[in-house]
């Protein structure tokens, strides 16, 4: 009896490990940025290129960075959710318009509504590389001290917003002494 117990246990262990492996999405690359200082960002505003948007001014309270572009199908898909999130007025949402054309991006915001407090224009995609962006849409949560706390790759949904972002935002606000 016992001589079969060990092989059986090993088999079950392997089966469970492989099952878990099947559930995971291999296209999601874990970001090495989590827990590290957010890369510096200083880019012209999409609406007013003479105005620079920088990470330095955003310190002091948690904020979100959403990477989007008009060529990105997932961005259109999540846009309605972003508008709803912005309407909740929980946290400033900064847009990073990635490798896009300025006029098209402005038209997009005019037509679909603008959920962003500000949009930085990364025409050449250099800032996106600093942030380890590889596929829009991506949404980062940055703490009051400028640390990257979380990253979500794929369109935002209200479910993910509620389960992944809201608890982390609340924690970030509390650690920054801003109250719940």
């Amino acid at each position: 009896m016992w001589r079969y117990a060990l092989p059986l246990a090993l088999f079950v262990l392997l089966a469970v490990a492989l099952r878990i492996g099947l559930e995971r999405d291999p296209s999601i690359v874990p970001s090495p940025l989590i827990g590290r200082p957010a890369p510096a960002l200083s880019l012209p505003s999409l609406q007013d290129p003479s105005y620079l948007i920088g990470t330095a001014e955003l310190r002091g309270a948690p904020w979100l960075l959403n990477v989007w572009a008009t060529w990105c199908v997932g961005c259109r898909q999540e846009h309605e959710v972003l508008l709803q999130i912005a309407a909740q007025n929980v946290i400033p949402l900064i847009g990073l318009n990635w490798k896009d054309d300025n006029a098209g991006a402005r038209r997009w915001l005019a037509e679909l509504g603008n959920p962003y407090a500000a949009v930085a224009e990364d025409r050449e995609g250099r800032v996106a590389i600093d942030w380890g962006v590889y596929g829009a849409p991506e949404t980062f949560l940055i703490g009051a001290d400028g640390t990257v706390l979380y990253k979500h790759v794929a369109p935002m949904t209200l479910e993910i917003w509620r389960t992944e972002f809201l608890p982390r935002i609340e924690l970030a606000r509390r650690t920054a002494g801003l109250g719940g």
Binding site: S27, V29, P30, I129, G132, Y134
Partner: protein
């Protein structure tokens, strides 16, 4: 086009297709630098189409990453610095040839471990078998005597 032409074309395409790297643009006049540039590109994974290197990929992000490699080379950075730049942003996954680290150690050690376990089982099995055969021999020998 005859069938023969088609077959010749198909064969050529199969044989030479692999040599078709997308990034055929010459980034450096110096052939040594160009070879180094191409080698670095072949070491870095395109994060969009994950089974391609940035040398093979047509993705806009791959073009951006090649530009970063080119500019860092022009700035006189070493291969290790360029690799570290990519790892800092995209993690170890960006290396097409993965390094050994704490999380994937078991994967690297698996062949040696499995060989060790297998030989252990084999040695025990053979010893036991030999012992049984010896006993049989001893018994039959005793019977004859």
């Amino acid at each position: 086009m005859s069938v023969r032409h088609f077959l010749v074309g198909l064969t050529l395409w199969c044989v030479l297709g692999g040599a078709w790297a997308f990034d055929s643009e010459v980034a450096f006049e110096d052939p040594v630098q160009q070879a180094r540039y191409e080698r670095l590109n072949r070491e870095l994974r395109c994060l969009v189409c994950q089974n391609q290197t940035i040398a093979d990929s047509t993705a806009p992000l791959a073009a951006d990453l090649r530009r970063e490699v080119r500019e860092m080379m022009q700035a006189g950075r070493t291969d290790a610095e360029i690799r570290q730049f990519m790892i800092d942003r995209y993690g170890d996954f960006v290396l097409y040839r993965p390094r050994m680290n704490a999380t994937n150690f078991l994967l690297w050690a698996a062949p040696a471990l499995l060989l060790l376990i297998g030989s252990g089982v084999a040695v025990r099995f053979i010893r036991r078998r030999t012992a049984e055969v010896d006993e049989d021999d001893a018994e039959s020998g005793a019977g004859r005597a």
